[in-house]
């Protein structure tokens, strides 16, 4: 693994994917080190805001040094990013975080579960699992939850296996959340990878227990440094860990992906 860097990146393209959801491709050497489930920090130019915005890696083309992020316009930083156009430059910090443990998938029935803006990092995971011989699963099912019919990335997920959709308003797929969709479809799994809001992740962890699967879930927390130095972004673990010695893992470096069994959710 190469060193983390703060580095300039050039915008290759940007487009609107769904209401308030942007798809941004960057040219950066960081792509060479990217793994699914990792993230980068994107720095706004606006000098009133100094902290990097953590955004998951949605996809990468290592050879062409392309990194893809898909994000929701949530505040001043992402609103600024949404204005970037081809040829613009931006500063990014990365590659950050551990990423999904691919090796756990080998030969297993894998289910990938995403909700809302937790969906994008799972696309990179689905792609990697389909392409990477070493971690080839027995099967891959994907379950993605959206608010309504304004979904995004679904066409791309379909390239990598069976896709189930849940929508809150029932306009597409199962009416309800991703767990409802899993149950409705009797989804079975040995290994679950998930990313989404905390209530969903709690549901996933419980469902995994129920069906006897391992769950690897990606968490979110407010961050400052992004590199494990400030202790801003901790989550509670069941056991005392090596770093903190107080049952606090750093999401930015020890995570963002954790074995659900290790967490106090």
């Amino acid at each position: 693994m190469s060193k983390k860097k703060k580095i300039g990146a050039e915008v290759i393209s940007q487009r609107l994917l769904a209401e308030g959801i942007m798809d941004l491709r960057l040219r950066t050497s960081l792509a060479e080190d990217a793994k699914p489930g990792q993230f980068i920090g994107v720095y706004p130019q606006n000098k009133s805001t100094l902290l990097p915005r953590p955004i998951s890696i949605c996809g990468y083309d290592r050879e062409n040094k392309e990194l893809r992020i898909v994000y929701r316009i949530a505040g001043s930083g992402t609103a600024e990013f949404a204005l970037y156009q081809e040829g613009d430059n931006t500063d990014i910090l990365g590659v950050l975080g551990n990423g999904f443990p691919l090796d756990k998938a080998a030969g297993k029935r894998v289910v990938i579960i995403g909700g809302g803006i937790g969906v994008p990092p799972l696309l990179g995971l689905a792609k990697e699992l389909s392409e990477n011989a070493a971690s080839k699963p027995e099967s891959v099912t994907m379950v993605m939850g959206y608010r309504n019919a304004d979904t995004f990335l679904t066409d791309e997920f379909e390239n990598y296996g069976k896709l189930l959709i849940a929508t809150e308003d029932g306009s597409i797929g199962t009416k309800g959340n991703v767990i409802d969709a899993c149950k409705e479809n009797g989804v079975e799994a040995d290994v679950i990878y998930a990313c989404g809001p905390m209530p969903m992740l709690r549901g996933v962890a419980a469902y995994a227990k129920e069906i006897g699967a391992k769950a690897y879930i990606s968490l979110e927390e407010r961050m400052a440094c992004g590199v494990g130095a400030c202790l801003g972004c901790i989550c509670k673990t069941k056991e005392v860990d090596d770093h903190s010695h107080v049952k606090n893992a750093r999401i930015c470096t020890d995570g963002p992906v954790f074995d659900a069994d290790d967490l106090e959710l």
């Binding site: 400052a224 400030c230 801003g232 901790i234």
Partner: protein
Amino acid sequence: MNTSVNIAGVTFKNPVMTASGTFGSGMEYAEFVDLNRLGAVVTKGVANVPWPGNPTPRVAEVYGGMLNAIGLQNPGVDVMIERDLPFLKDFDTKVIVNVCGKSTQDYVDVVERLADQDSVHMLEINVSCPNVKEGGIAFGQNPDALFEITKEIKKHAKQPIIMKLSPNVTSIAEMARAAEAAGSDAISLINTITGMKIDIYKKTFAIANKTGGLSGPAIKPVAVRMVYEASHAVKIPVIGMGGIATAEDAIEFMLAGATGVAVGAMNFHNPYATIEVIEGIERYMSGQGIENINEIIGAVE
């Protein structure tokens, strides 16, 4: 060109340090920065036993800076001795351990545990963290309490001590004088200024602890003023910090009276900030024809 400064008998190759709590124990930023180039690494605060810190959210962004209420999470002094100090020993830089506690005895315990650690060059005593209920801030906002605890720590410390002062006081000069009178070898300032942010849509505090410490460029003018006032109130050296992002900022603190300077929250904005500050100071010195960095310390009266 001489960029080295002397603080309480310890020689630093340059005045640029890391501000406690913003640089881990150096390990995390060693990927970005050659620690050998730093004047000193100042560690995250360490207590006698592990502390879990505050609930999350612990950090929030504000205009030109951030709030934090980490609450002094730390793995305890034993882990520091077994893990962090051996790591730091391999670098050609000075090591300052930041010490926190809830009672005088807590501080004394840490200081005694570190007494025989040769790789620790100085101790910075954090009596100014605004984010822990029963923590050091009580000592840091009252000159008599500051005097007493300084005196007690000084009795037990083998390394020179730096009392780290809180800006949340009416008179920083009075606090500086209390630390000096009790025998502190140096002082550092400022710790964060207590602040608050409210999310008007969620109708909650942005920080779980309600209040957090404000740091970053937003506080620089207050920090420069306090460094000026403190360095004019005492004879012991002053280490200045608060919003330093560039060499210009660092020089401003030195002209105001700081012998050392520390980069804090701006490491998060620019992980190379410390090195850029060091290089920028050298450029300034050659540009201004300054041979010895000590000439600029307190040069604006």
